[in-house]
Assembly symmetry: D2
Homo-oligomer: 355 residues x 4
């Protein structure tokens, strides 16, 4: 008797691609990383050292990898610009898909991935919102779901990155879809999770500044932004995204119910150490999102694998990923135009007068 | 040789009036509470026990108290509706004035107090924004002012009350000016303090819900509200106000600079006790704002007294109190209409098109 | 009708004397500081500015102050060496007494104060263990007393001072009675409070080092010491005292019951501020014990005053103060000799063999 | 090219054995779990489901497993009573060994493992003190080693288990070696790590109680114990061990240097969640040591594997494990006899008079 393992390939070996590849190789016992693809020579060299010795076949061409003998699933961890295209190709090639967020910065293209998936209901297609797999967010969700804290009514959530003084994120902003689509998408997804996937948006408004990187304006982006989302069922969420945190990554969420609230990461920390010196008491915090969410990604890989092997529903529905892009894109538009945007209950944009 | 003490009278002996009276009686060594006034018989009875035995003369009529022999100053701690009238009468009677916030729920009436004060520059007239006297906010201000944390750019601040299941605040809402004028006024004042008193508002927008008290809608109010204020100099502030906190009072502020941030009360607590039991680790938090800010009120009384006796500037300028009402009232209007409101650099309301 | 106030005098105007004098002058509404005494000219000069203008009569001689017309009570806040003598003189002169801790560094002399007090049961005589008046310790005591946390069984408590690089405490050690009598006396008193005033000691043992001030050895003292106290009723307490904390004052206590525990000051803090910068998150802590316990001293003054005026029992019994010195002195002896010391149930020292 | 992997077998499949087996199977990429042994039928059944399908050969007899073709290393995770015997057999069979702590409850038997290992210096033999592999303890060690906090002088450390109301640990105490050998052994090891492996003990003393399980006395054990260890170089450590924590596992350490201190787990927590309800703010804490140290065990498995494959020194020296048992056994003796125990600088027990 030998245990069955899911044969999976990894598309893209950039920063996140490397992590996904290693997670499926080393920390997902029920999966077998059999292939990886990247057009980038440097990434191929890395893979020759870290993947190939363990039996992973390397491809420079994604389409070739899709034809790998026995391949059952693909994790799409390439640049955002090709997420949708690669996901759709995999679906059409009868592969299960775990796709990095966002599906696309475009609502329409995101929808096309959903359409492709809906046409193949026997395939598992999931967008990887990592916080859904984080032990703390899950604990918070369970506490809120128990009803003991009343009806969830107000959500505050932020995705705040450590300041990167190299200005990398200015160039990055050209293709990121903007701070609300790139960062707040996680917070938006949390709102849909806690408020219910079918929550309907009534209005969005946003304001932002460029406190440290004025050049972001040429890509219609900001380095600090606050967005406000009003839902039709008497709920609301507000989001803060920033690229200029001094201490490190500060992803904090607050879920406020009518009888209590639950917070996640209200006090960020790297580990359990505190230092006492003449300045007082200090603790360090995670520097990057992967420091914070490393084990969530491992859980994500394991649960996606289990859902395929056991033919159970994936942990989060794909249509939510499209809805998150829709809200993020509207916030980004409001951020740039300064206009508040209204929607009717069918999700159509309307003027305030016609609401 | 005998030390000089400021002869002061207290107008109003309701919840806050009692506290101000006792603070001036017992915890303000350089002041002497010589008089108190209230039209309310129950309050007079209380005062006969707690004030009169210590030499405080009681008046049922405010105007009579103003004529008390030797009276030098008045603390106006009556209902908000008469703050302005009593303050102006005191000013006209040549008394120094410490007035509870807000001056009025009306911008125009607030301005009339400022005008009266400006006409008597030899008098000390101060609006009591208690957080300005809180040791933690002052420490935060000093840290931000040192420049070590860069330029203050984003402020998050909230005034969140414990849920009062009696529904008291529904009736209260009829005269409070609404949640932004009543609660967020403190957060607005903090923004003006940390960003600079001359900061000019570019836009305000707000959203709110009635999660626990739908009846608030008949007074054009909400029990949870989020407001967003954009300033002309590339700064922004966002505020949350709530009437439904389960654990107690949660007044938290976050001042974010380009090189670091400082928080006040990010982890509320009643005292230094933690209880470990089968549920984990617990700590209690203050139940009401006075539990949190008691010593700030004592400091306020002492510093107002010192500024009169030493003829120095009061710790906060009166025009800021008018500006705070202006911003609060605009947020409240946006909360109700759902419209975003824009201002030009002179403070005039303009349409978005004319910005 | 005029409220009755307690006429009190303050003996000693050194560091603590000044604080007690001002607390009775300004923050104890039911008391009237009528006199103060000190043989020190510098202190007299200070008093001429801070006390005399408010009607406080100054004496260079303690005995003279005792004869002050109408004097009803004395707060003894002079050097430890004269605490007992001044307390006894006051008792004999029919004054109520609030005496700073310890009564004496000698068990016998401490006992003589108790004897004098017992001879005048109509007088209120109290030793000022400040933590008994601290809101957090009281909350902890109430929580433990409720029974919800089971039977208190183990206590950990520490009194740890910020390192004073001037070496002041080396000279101070000559008369302090040693680190267990000077510092841990508070922790010992807490043990007697939480375990019950009649708890009987079975053994004490202690170990210490001189990590920063080897010269302390010439006064038979150490700069860091740990003491272990075993009680006859299946309870134990362990104490840590230090003179070399880098961050500030760290007085932490842990009360462990069979069903739960309660801690006081497990996370020291100066105020509610946290600073986020490139080093992480920082908070400052109190630098000295008065920063930590200021309001406890105010409460102490007020409650002592009330117990005299209302002729009620003082909040803590005087014999506990003698017992605390007894335990502290035994720990100090064990610290120096390295021997463990045993007591029989009557409190007599016995050899291990005779236990 | 195929990556080399260490072929390892797991001895014992009880609570910790299962964890070690799964860690080497699933979370140690450079190791291959090829065999496991247990005489227990229930454990064999478990292994048929969880190990065998992945190619792990099962043995009922440890000696048979040692003959497994190609076996290179053994993780000894059986009952403490057979740790030493199995470790020595493995060494004699030329296998590398990772042995669970303690090597034995007997100093002499522990020494025999060390002797066997010393006779085969080409083998890697390591005792698994899990905290050495915990990210927080390592961070604390690095901070202390940097010198910025001065010379480490005082250590406080505790191993406190959640109360197990089944009384399991009473039976367990018969073979555990007692609370200091079973629990505090970790804290002792930390002291040797932070103070230096060659630190020499001058005295030990201990006191304990049975607050919840009086039956422990028949096995010469206690449910709460405090131990004090004095070292020859002016350092000291004090330890608290308990079996009655209500909230969960509380393993806290404090490393105090002459210029600062560093703490590990001063505020225990299960995750990053806080719940706010009418009782205040709550957080849960880990229930058992594996909840707290799970990833330390994974790191341990990976680092042991790497040290064998790369022929580098194991992360902690084996003689320290013997020294830790020596100190733990002395503390346990002092706990029971009530006598303080002294050692000369060569480690011989001497009377106080001959010190």
């Amino acid at each position: 008797m030998t245990a069955q393992r899911l044969k999976i390939g990894c598309a893209g070996l950039g920063r996140m691609g490397k992590r996904h590849a290693l997670n499926f190789l080393e920390r997902t016992p029920r999966a077998e990383l059999v292939a990886a693809s990247t057009p980038d020579d440097t990434e191929i060299e890395w893979a020759k050292v870290h993947l190939a010795p363990y039996g992973v076949k390397l491809y420079k061409n994604y389409d070739d990898m899709l034809k790998h003998e026995g391949l059952e699933a693909v994790v799409v961890a390439s640049a955002t610009a090709v997420h949708a295209e690669q996901a759709i190709k995999a679906i059409n090639a009868e592969k299960h898909v775990l796709c990095e967020k966002p599906l696309s910065t475009s609502v329409e293209i995101s929808q096309s991935v959903l359409d492709a998936a809906n046409a193949k209901p026997h395939l598992k297609v999931m967008c990887g919102f990592s916080r859904r797999f984080d032990a703390s967010y899950r604990d918070a969700y369970n506490k809120m779901s128990s009803g003991a804290l009343g009806a969830p009514s107000v959500i505050r959530s932020q995705t705040c990155d450590k300041l990167d003084p190299t200005g990398f994120f200015v160039a990055y902003a050209e293709f990121s879809g903007g701070i609300f689509v790139d960062c707040s998408i996680h917070d938006i997804d949390l709102s849909l999770w806690f408020f219910g996937q079918d929550s309907k948006v009534r209005s969005v408004s946003a304001v932002g500044i460029t406190a440290v990187e004025p050049d972001l304006r040429k890509h219609n982006d900001r380095d600090n932004a606050v967005g406000l989302v009003e839902f039709y069922d008497g709920k609301m969420a507000y989001f803060y995204a920033s690229r200029m945190m001094a201490a490190g990554q500060e992803d904090t969420s607050e879920f406020i119910g009518t009888k209590g609230k639950v917070t996640v990461n209200a006090q960020p920390q790297l580990n359990l150490v505190q230092t006492f010196d003449a300045g007082g008491i200090k603790k360090e915090i995670p520097q990057h999102y992967y420091d914070r969410f490393e084990y969530a990604f491992v859980t994500e890989a394991n649960e996606f694998t289990a859902s395929v092997l056991e033919n159970t529903a994936v942990p989060l529905k794909l249509d939510g990923a499209v809805q998150a892009v829709r809200i993020g894109a509207a916030l980004q538009e409001s951020l740039i135009t300064g206009e508040k945007i209204f929607f009717d209950e069918s999700g159509n944009r309307v003027s305030k007068a016609n609401l």
